[in-house]
Amino acid sequence: MNTPDILHHYRQLAADQTTMAHDWHNRRQLHAVMQVQELPLPERGQESWRYTPLPPLLDTAFQPAALEQDLLFADDIEQLRLTPAASLRIVLHNGFFLPELSNLPDDGSIRIESLRSALANGDKTVQAHLGELSGEQSHLFHALNTAMLGEGVYLHIAAGAQLAQPIEVLHVSLSFASEYLAQPRLLVVVGEGAQASIVEQYASLADVLCLNNTVTEIFLHAGANLEHSRLQNESLRTRHLASLYVQQAEGSHYRNTTLAFGGAWSRTEFHVRFSGTGANCRLNGFYLAGDKQSHDMHLNVVHNLPGCSSQSHFKGILQGHSKAVFDGNIEVKPAAQKTDARLSNANLLLSRDAEIDTKPRLEIYADDVQCSHGTTVGQIDEEMLFYLRSRGIPHAQAVNMICTGFADEVIGTCGWESLENLAREVLARQLAAAMVAGG
């Protein structure tokens, strides 16, 4: 299918929403439908898509997934879960929220419910927040997610709540169909002074061609603290587009660790802005691109208010015929005095056929700021390798050891051991596989 047809396909999908007897609970949803009619497909000429390989996104007219009953069972969840069985758990199957497989709270401090029902019930918070962040600087696929909003999830943590255990969010891809489009949607609101952590996993139980177009919006109220770890470990035929929007109020803390292992093609966008001063945001990322894989990481951290800080730390390893893109943007607006913004990106290139394109950008309009970025691209340090080998460690194992150490600086920030261990296993497996394949 050629690109004009693909564009027409998605416009039609969005337009169809208007014919379904929709109650437009959220005007932003209607607006998104209109946006899809106007926005172009992503193309290389747009700065934020400059290095992204586009065919995986544009060569197939993905069809919206349908809710397939009796496909996903409790046993599957048992196998995939990373938190204790009794922990709060949100399960999404191809983007559809499955309450029956989830573990829902029974006390009042945490609310987990379907977005659609929250909207239908006239929930004021959801009305106010849904689509508020994702609507800005939108591209076609953000708008498409909002326009076709299905059974997404609304997670609300009440002011002052202190959660001892993480909330697990499990996205499972599994279908009899192929070339389907899953569009998970999450809205997270963390109340004033509340503290919580989220352990999120994207997993595939079938190896089919699909596009996972996910949008997550997170609002942190004053003094809130959220730790958010994400593991993307989908099948090698999956195309994964994740957009994360975060808004932080005064004195709030947000820490995100994103680990990208799976998918033929993955792109993760982080959009952060502040609605109060003195907030801190830490973004950590690791990507491992094996043969025929590509990973993109896009950061857009806007310091629009004074006295906030952000530290973004991304690392990647590239093997085989692979590609990675790191596009880190930090903008410091004129009002944002006393900003402290740090950005770093380090890459290990292990193959002749790998390519990394990285552009760490600083755009600064205030003078009393501390901003820096550093980038490195290289292969494994020969001296390090030699040192290990001189201690009797075989070459392959030494390489493995160095790569693991390199990655662990990021993996170790997840703060949830079973997630970290799974990530380490996946890393070890992929490194070993690449080693067998000859780098």
Partner: protein, 482 residues
């Protein structure tokens, strides 16, 4: 108001030291651009037929091109039909053989700028090919250079006297239609400099050209071509300043450097064109394409620039590192104050094996100045063991200005090692206080700190140029720095 802001305020109120106009009659063509104007320029320069054809080709390509909009710059649309594309001082027709024959008014202009030709001739041993508007009017030391086999002349002269060299190399590094401004330059360039250093020759002196834009509404389209043959060395100095004007003046120069095997070219620029008034009105628009090709193994090209002038600077002196073991360097100081905007940086293309590049960029922003570094480091698949180190620092003076860094790093070879660092800072109150406690005035302290910030770049300039650059920086940040 803190000390740094006060300092900026003082700087802002200082006028532009080089703002004066020399009155010399010019032979100017009516504003506008079409094929006839190009034919006129070509005829006026007594060019061979191949050059006219080449110009017309470029013009036709330019007509189909779009003015780039990706740079971090804002300026009103340029009306290319309102520009006059040719002007030559009348005295040029007399083709002076020595400085004595040069229009004394012209010499006085240089003197006001602190560039006494005579003195330089004696003291520094620098050959000066002074370009006034668009035509070379004075060339010195021709004989000494000729003895060494060095060709140093205007490019129009080279087209007539050395057609084989011009035809072989012109447009090989910056193709006719490389970009919008380069294509325009190819169509209408009026003059510029040509240098050829024969194999194994170390050019006996530093070559230098002072540019000066003088004519109202006259675009300045220089074209420079420097060829360093095998094993040769040349250091070329380019410095420029322009008098105060009300209308924006477009400058779209092209510089091509070719270094063959084991050759080295060092190209240094001090750019101090009129930046415009406080609102940016009347300043020069500087859209320059500079690129060097390390064609042979072990060739080296080094760009050093001190950019303090112009309302708009759009400039990315680049190196194509084709030869194995070739080296590219870029050292830059860019100052933006008032309403000045600069989008400048470099591109390093690593193609050959063991190629190395170094980038050091120092941006200083004051008032409402906007300073952007934009750089590309590309390591191709075959560039084994390529190395790049980039250091990119910004200094902000005042809370109205901006400092931006847009690096692009593309690596397709695992043996490459690329490092990029960027920092942003302001002059610390504690630094100022420390200096003042030791008896230095606020102005001297600021000047000292800023010069320290630029040190890594200034040390790359030839000695006499470094002195001038330091002086220029002081004048640029003047008010306090008397």
């Amino acid at each position: 108001m803190d000390a740094a802001q006060r300092h900026v305020e003082q700087m802002r109120q200082t006028g532009y030291a080089a703002g004066f106009v020399t009155s010399i009659e010019s032979d100017t063509v009516a504003p506008g651009l079409d094929e006839d104007v190009i034919r006129f320029i070509s005829a006026k320069k007594n060019e061979p037929a191949y050059m006219l054809e080449w110009r017309l080709q470029a013009y036709r390509k330019w007509l189909d091109m779009q003015e780039p909009e990706w740079a971090h710059l804002r300026y009103p649309r340029i009306d290319y039909q309102a520009i006059s594309y040719f002007s030559a001082p009348k005295s040029a027709k007399a083709a002076p053989k020595s400085l004595d024959e040069v229009d004394p008014e012209l010499l006085r202009t240089y003197e006001k700028l602190g560039i006494p030709l005579q003195e330089q001739k004696i003291l520094a041993g620098v050959a000066v090919d002074a370009v006034f508007d668009s035509v070379s009017v004075a060339t010195t030391f021709r004989k000494q250079l000729a003895d060494a086999g060095v060709i140093f002349c205007s490019i129009s002269e080279a087209m007539r006297e050395h057609p084989q060299l011009v035809q072989q190399y012109l447009g090989t590094v910056v193709p006719q239609a490389d970009n919008y401004f380069a294509a325009l330059n190819a169509a209408v360039f009026t003059d510029g400099t040509f240098v050829y250093i024969p194999p194994g020759v170390r050019c006996p002196m530093e070559l230098s050209t002072y540019f000066r834009i003088n004519e109202r509404n006259t675009g300045q389209f220089e074209r420079t071509l420097i060829i360093a043959d095998k094993g040769s060395y040349v250091s070329y100095l380019e410095g420029c300043t322009a008098p105060q004007r009300d209308e924006n003046q477009l400058h779209a120069a092209v510089v091509e450097l070719i270094a063959l095997e084991d050759a080295q070219i060092k190209y240094s620029t001090v750019q101090n064109w009129y930046p415009g008034d406080e609102t940016g009105k009347g300043g020069i628009y500087n859209f320059v394409t500079k690129r060097g090709l390390c064609a042979g193994d072990r060739a080296k090209i080094s760009w050093t620039q001190v950019e303090t002038g112009s309302a708009i600077t759009w400039k990315y002196p680049s190196c194509i590192l084709k030869g194995d073991d070739s080296v590219g360097e870029f050292y830059s100081v860019a100052v933006t104050r008032g309403a000045q905007q600069a989008d400048t940086g470099t591109k390093m293309f690593h193609i050959g094996k063991n190629t190395r590049s170094t980038i050091v960029s120092k941006g200083i922003s004051a008032d409402r100045g906007q300073n952007a570094y934009r750089g590309l480091v590309r390591i191709n698949r075959g560039a084994e063991n390529a190395r790049n180190h980039t250091q990119c620092d910004s200094l902000l003076l005042g809370d109205q200005c901006g400092a931006h860094t847009f690096p692009y790093i593309e690596v397709a070879n695992p043996t490459a090692k690329v490092e990029h660092e960027a920092t942003t800072s302001k002059i610390g109150e504690d630094q100022l206080f420390y200096c003042r406690q030791r008896g230095l005035s606020q102005e001297d302290a600021v000047s000292m700190i800023v010069n320290g910030f630029c040190k890594e770049v200034f040390k790359e300039l030839p000695m006499e140029f470094a002195v001038e650059a330091r002086k220029l920086l002081a004048i640029s940040l003047e008010g306090a720095v008397g």
